[in-house]
Symmetry: C2
DNA sequence: TCGGTTAGCTTGACTGACCAAGCTGCCTCT
DNA sequence: AGAGGCAGCTTGGTCAGTCAAGCTAACCGA
């Protein structure tokens, strides 16, 4: 018997058309072959061709005009700017893989801002993990993770050893939830005395403060990660469609 | 004859299932009726039912497990947190509708950072429009718009009258392009002397600087809008899925 | 009791066919 | 020559049916 995997026909058509668009064979603005032409060339039934073309339209590769045809828009520029979102990177970062120094770990009281993001009352019990991340032998950012105490209980989150997996995995496993989306809050502020020493910046320096709130599909928050970055060394980038 | 519009069957099924999920009739985690049950209840063929369910899956309402069924995730939380992206708001903002004061308008040389974003050589000719926006009688932000001189030529962008439409419209009309997506860069810095006076902040204040670069579908940049906000009065928010 | 087989459920992929609706250019009739 | 209509292209939506693949539970034999 054979374990070869052949992708579905419609997926093969998608891949082939994306290739032709990227190679310039179908330049932006030009019409795609009609459904019947594609049926003949690839030996597929119309619903199969239509399904592939629908995916390409949803992904922004082409536009369709009923009665006229389908036209190339080009490779979706937004997909090519490899999206590395700050918040997600923080949640999945493994401490053992980045050069970081563990500063604080264990129970704490939730500050106002964090409690607000977590939907709990201020000064509730939480577990705090604070690390200093260095890049190229230079202090780069201070990262703090807050998780409600009842969630963190029994996990390695309160241990003083570097985490082997991202925070997200621990919480998903402990609470039995699937984290679904992240809400990011970004603001600017001056450093606290502690941050001033750790990051080796002046008291008047402008810092970027990023708060990433990880929520499940119902919108319930589970984790807050705060990252503080010196503005003169860091820049956040984000791309999104206008429509 | 009749001009009544009846939505396609699959769209009706989508709307009905979304309604049932929102009303709690199909709570999160519960299984949806199987394809055959939906076929029977709504009198549709299977491909029609499957098409509707595929859209719901793509939009994040449900998850599907081959062999087990389809399960409710709930109203996509990410869609309900009404996304008001800073960059898009800046591009479509009508100066006549916000309380703003025009500071500078006319030809200028492109600073390094702006030239880099626009993909032109530094000190190239651009048209600059700088405004001070006030909210609740308090200086709120300084917003600067840069457009290459050859694009802005002949438009109202260089005039000293408030724009009646968003910058985006003027550029799309003048250049005959359709702007497709925005790339945002966010950083933190201290104010320039001019910004210090305008925003009435201390020289050591931490400001959020947001650069929104508007590009067409091919990725070519057309407009850069810089907005400078005092960090203690502003916070940017952004939501996105984890996967 | 345990373990493997199987029947019956689910979704995934695909086919060939049909009709409707929108667009374009030709062709005929005036 | 001009106006109208029609033919032939395009995409949009729907149907009844087939086969494959994944999951579950009941069943049956060792």
């Amino acid at each position: 018997m054979s374990f070869e995997y052949t992708p579905p026909k419609y997926a093969q058509l998608i891949a082939e058309l994306e290739r032709r668009i990227e190679s310039g064979e179908y330049p932006p603005g030009s019409p795609l072959p009609s459904e019947h032409q594609l049926m003949a060339e690839f030996g597929m039934a119309r619903p199969t061709v239509v399904k592939a073309l629908g995916v390409l339209r949803d992904h922004g590769w082409i536009v369709t005009h009923q009665g006229k045809g389908r036209f190339v828009r080009g490779r979706p520029a937004i997909a090519s700017t490899q999206q590395v979102r700050t918040g997600r990177e923080l949640l999945d970062r493994k401490e053992v893989q980045v050069s970081s120094r563990l500063l604080t770990t264990g129970p704490a009281e939730a500050p106002n801002r964090i409690a607000s993001y977590l939907g709990i009352t201020p000064k509730s019990s939480v577990v705090l993990r604070k690390t200093l991340v260095t890049r190229d032998d230079e202090a780069s950012e201070v990262s703090s993770t807050w998780v409600p105490a009842d969630v963190a209980e029994g996990t390695a989150l309160a241990d003083s050893a570097d985490l082997k997996q991202g925070v997200r995995r621990y919480v998903e496993a402990a609470a039995g939830v699937e984290l679904d989306h992240i809400i990011e809050h970004v603001t600017a502020r001056n450093p606290t005395p502690e941050e001033r020493d750790l990051l080796d910046v002046k008291a008047s320096a402008a810092l970027l403060a990023v708060y990433a709130v990880a929520c499940d599909a119902t919108g319930k928050p589970w984790i807050v990660v705060e990252t503080v970055l010196p503005g003169d060394r860091h820049e956040l980038e984000d791309a999104y469609p206008i429509r």
